[in-house]
């Protein structure tokens, strides 16, 4: 006969096992992904890519790090570009440094 307490403890024990199982699974998936990682790295190196392909909605956001200060207000092929990503991604940090002397263009007011 199992008591409620024992059942609860078994349940929590299984939960704990599953919890640690997540870490084991993570390690396993990482090991399994080594090849894919290498492929990605190789492609980035070969094509000299600078960004992830996460944002493709507006033309300046695919390479946010390469966008210039005013891209956010440039024309969209169909309309004025005014996209959610534009409000999320400011210019790269390097652009926002003022006073270093080497920056010849104005600091942006478009930063989030």
């Amino acid at each position: 006969m199992t008591r409620p307490a024992d059942r609860a403890m078994i349940f929590l024990g299984l939960g704990g096992l599953a919890f640690f199982g997540c870490f084991v699974d993570a390690a396993w998936l990482r090991a399994a992904a080594v090849d894919d990682d290498a492929q990605r790295l190789q492609m980035v190196a070969q094509l000299r890519l600078t960004d992830l392909a996460l944002f493709t909605e507006a033309r300046y956001t695919r390479h946010p790090s390469q966008a210039d200060l005013h891209s956010a207000f440039q024309d969209h092929p169909l309309a004025i570009e005014h996209f959610p990503t534009g409000s999320l991604i400011g210019p790269p940090a390097g652009l926002q440094k003022v006073g270093a002397g080497e920056m010849k263009y104005p600091a942006a007011g478009t930063a989030p």
């Binding site: 939960g15 392909a53 909605e57 080497e102």
Partner: protein, 378 residues
Amino acid sequence: MKLWIEKQRYLIDFTLASLARRKARNIGLLLVYTLLVFMLASVTLYTHALRQEAARVLVASPEVVVQRMVAGRHDLIPPGYMEKIGRIRGVQTRTARLWGYYYDAVTKANYTFMVPAEDAPAKGEIVVGPALERSRGLAANNGISFRSYSGKLHTFIVAAVLPQATELVSADLVLMSEESFRAFFDYPVGHYTDIALTVANPQEVKNVALKLSAALPDARPILRDEVLRTYAAIFDWREGIVLALFSAAILAFGILAWEKASGLSAEEKREIGILKAIGWETGDVIKMKFWEGMLISLTAFLVGFVAAYVHVFHFAASMFEPVLKGWAVLYPHFQLTPHIDGVQVATLFFFTVFPYAAAVLVPIWKAAITDPDSVMRG
């Protein structure tokens, strides 16, 4: 020890029985609690893994990208410009890049057209990213036409599709030969989009950038470290937005849990009196309540976390993708490699398990140290 275990089993039995008495209410609470942990854990697991992925993938990207600015705007690299960089010490290789964006009205998405520096496809052929394969139904040897910005229709043959494994960086790519690229965009001969520099010694990167700015006052060097930092900031920021959206839910749950856990009903107070009168020690009552808090909060944490892990790393975080990835038209399909930050998990554990356990214990303390003689009176 055996006695201790037996006692704890009794206390757990009792606390389970009393939880079972308000079944609907407690199960509801547990569900909400679990859901909350699930959401919080999903967000933190996902953003951490994505941040890690960006950091790991982009280590292979060029240390410095040089853009030319004209009147404060990004402009093409004119012929002869690259030669001026040549003599900066520390620069290992320099490559002029040719790339641009193309808006495809069919899928309403922007593709990245690019000319690989090495192994470029033959004239008239293209290599496409996996997202194009999906959205335009392309496969090797298919033909596809794009209308260029000048209005002319250009037809290409798909030579190959980039491997699915690289989708995170290659989803929207269209690789072509330099000749095709220049013809398609009417790109002026001898001009380039920007210049990628590799610098062997990481300590030199800052110097190279300074020297570049001195030698070419109209150049804008973009450092890889800055890009990485910006990416980290973007994901932090997005995580922040999602957490801010959740904060209302967290607060609501906090109030609910506090109310439920800390507000001791007259019925519960009476029961504590009875237990003490029939020989339970104050410590037994507190331990019993401690188990109640632990059972609920541990269950919520374990179930919520494991579900979040499966959701993020086996179901590609399907619930949060839109918010976290951005508004991507060409949605990259990729399976994140799980990188779990132990400190984050510990923080999550601490902030989800302990407040609840404490909320359960505090009022009990007060009730449990009072005299039990009240049970003798009606």
